[in-house]
Homo-oligomer: 409 residues x 2
């Protein structure tokens, strides 16, 4: 979503990026998000037990500050993961330098990394680049966009999303605006399973004033229904992070249970999640799975994940092949409660399978034509109950193999 | 394994194949295994809840006969799955015709199918081919091999395995020989999870005399350590079947707990399982995973399966890329108990990762050269306990995508 509007950037933040020389390509690879004042923070991190060094530091820092962040320092090109003590040292050194540059405590710095795993992060490159980068950060949409571009790895486009809500003022006063903006990256190793749910990096900013605990209560359900409902390849990363910062610069306080804020946040999360999967490595089809009639929501998710991770289903989609038997097999091994003679499959509105067998109205040519679209939906009804979910995934193409099999470590 | 020796075919069986016109290619697609007398039978079937029609019939028939089979009737080119009542009717019609041809009860016929899912099986083509096929079956290795070839689908080679054991005779008598031979097929949709553990079809024959219940007690552990330890793509099929038949024609009775028989059966199962995965669709590398030091065997299997099903790991292998970070990520999300600072990865004997980070002796060029081999091993030690497993899998190549994405339904 490159539809950037300057009036949508939350107030109280500055953004920027520099070429620190971590990416082999020489492109911008070091981004900063700097809050004018310590911002309230809520975060979600990967459930992978092999967790990158910056995530360990992030958790430590959020605990130490009670959920306050001044500086988010993000590098691309190196995940700073599985690098032992050297990795932790590199993250801490970056935080110390950023703290000095921006006159804050090291604990108020939130480091993030994405890129190759197992190679020590050259922190000195980031540290050297910091003073110059500090001179160029700013609050405009151009600055925001620079940061969004710098954090990309195999991404082909930057991912941003925006929302705003109006909050009624005091009697006689005009309504006031709260802005939410997010930036994210991710294309491969995409199956975020965040706990309390987060190689996807997402930063969401708002100028509302929100206490950290309240912010967290808004973030978790929004994450569950967005980033935890997408998969490119089923590989849950070691670095997935979603960070939500609230600067308070709008002057509007948002307490718990504000439905307009919750909805706007959900929209930004859903938009970013869908942008991540839509940029999945090598994809030619973006697929929306709608699972209905499951015994419960967990079963609906089981079916969605089995389908989203089936190489045979994903390669059939790559070939626009209406081979629904592969879907039936995935439904069968998903672990969900099913009746093999009751489930139903549709491609868009087209009936494909009913009562567990070929639908009498199945029109193979029409189904093939439908699957030729760049984006399509597969709807499954298990007829077991009222459980449901919506899940986004991709096909599996030779280009995915090329991207990931070309020896370049 | 095309090393066919006529002296290794178990006595008491005849084999053959015909071109019934089910395969679009026009190749042989209908195979028979006929026992001279009702043979003792034990079987294992897929755990997929969407189960092909012949498997329903097989279970019914084994129950009805108390584990006796005269005729195994196998077609390739059509899985007879998700075809509703028409599928069941087609399987029953085939059994009735085979029973008439071979003068047995329909319940003594064991039907099997493999191929496309969701298309009704044209039973009439099989039925028409039966009388001619009955004239050509025979007990020689050539007949055996015809059957092994006819059941192939995307397989590039037939899969067979042989073993024999000598059993001491009565005092003063010469030792007597028991033969075991297996034939199988499978290349894609290969992740057998058989219950009591089986688009893989495997038939194992012995001329020992074994009661069905005893035969079953031999089969299940052999299956667990062979067919349930392989995966090409993680797609558990609707049709997987392993059938073990004992004709008794050797005149040698095998009771429970005969270690020589158990070992020979295990060798045949392991050989066939490895042949199936070695013929995995599009593979360029066959990979043996050895997981050691897990908290328990179940955890070792969790790690093996996470690695075997990671597109990022499998594409790295396709590129001979020693990117061990992808292995570390898969270990981390496997669900197994791990210490991220304790695990160790080796490629063959080459140290790659130790204490959860890059091993000081990691030699990238040597690792790359090792991974260029057509077959290699990846050894992981979690240092958590004594759980272990050996698992066989493949890389993921553009050829796999071509095989499965070319629209040909």
């Amino acid at each position: 979503m490159s539809d950037l509007c300057p009036f949508l950037i939350p107030r109280g933040f500055r953004f920027g990026a520099a070429k620190a020389g971590v990416k082999a390509s020489g492109r911008a690879d070091f981004a900063l998000i700097v809050a004018d004042e310590p911002a309230s923070a809520a975060a979600a991190f990967t459930s992978n037990k092999v967790t990158a060094a910056p995530l360990h530091i992030d958790k430590e820092h959020l605990t130490a500050t009670g959920g306050k962040v001044r500086v988010v320092a993000i590098n691309a090109g190196n995940a700073n993961c599985a690098a032992g003590q050297a990795g932790l040292d590199a993250a801490r050194a970056t935080c110390a330098a950023a703290a000095q540059t921006f006159h804050c405590r090291p604990e108020e710095v939130f480091p993030s990394s994405t890129g190759v795993i197992g190679v020590p992060l050259p922190a000195e490159k980031l540290i050297v680049a910091l003073p110059g980068l500090a001179q160029t950060i700013g609050p405009e949409s151009d600055h925001f966009n620079e940061a969004a571009l710098a954090i990309m790895t195999t991404d082909t486009v930057e991912k941003t999303a925006f929302a705003r809500i109006e909050v009624a003022g005091a009697p006689g006063e005009a309504p006031r605006e709260v802005r939410i903006a997010g930036l994210g990256k991710g294309s491969g190793m995409i199956y975020p399973q965040l706990v309390p749910h987060a190689t996807m990096l997402v930063y969401i900013l708002t100028d509302a004033a929100v206490e950290p605990a309240v912010l967290n209560a808004y973030l978790q359900p929004a994450v569950e229904l967005s980033f935890n409902r997408i998969s490119v390849d089923g590989d849950t990363s070691t670095n997935d992070t979603v960070l939500l910062l609230a600067s308070g610069a709008s002057g509007v306080s948002i307490g718990a249970g504000n439905p307009a804020f919750a909805t706007a946040l959900q929209q930004v999360c859903s938009s970013l999640a869908r942008q991540v999967v839509a940029d999945g490595e090598g994809l030619t089809h973006l697929v929306e799975l709608q699972i209905n009639g499951a015994a419960n929501d967990a079963d609906a998710l089981r079916v969605a994940k089995a389908i989203a991770h089936s190489p045979l289903v994903k390669t059939a989609w790559a070939g626009c092949d209406p081979n629904w038997g592969r879907l039936a097999a995935a439904i069968g091994y998903s672990g969900a409660q099913i009746d093999p003679e009751a489930f139903e499959i549709r491609f868009g509105d087209l009936p494909v399978c009913s009562n567990g067998g070929c639908d009498p109205e199945f029109d193979e040519a029409a189904a093939h034509a439908y699957l030729e679209q760049a984006q399509f939906s597969v709807t499954i009804n298990l007829h077991q109950g009222t459980g449901s979910c919506v899940f986004w995934t991709t096909d599996l193409t030779t280009e995915y193999i090329h991207i990931n099999a070309d020896y370049s470590t």
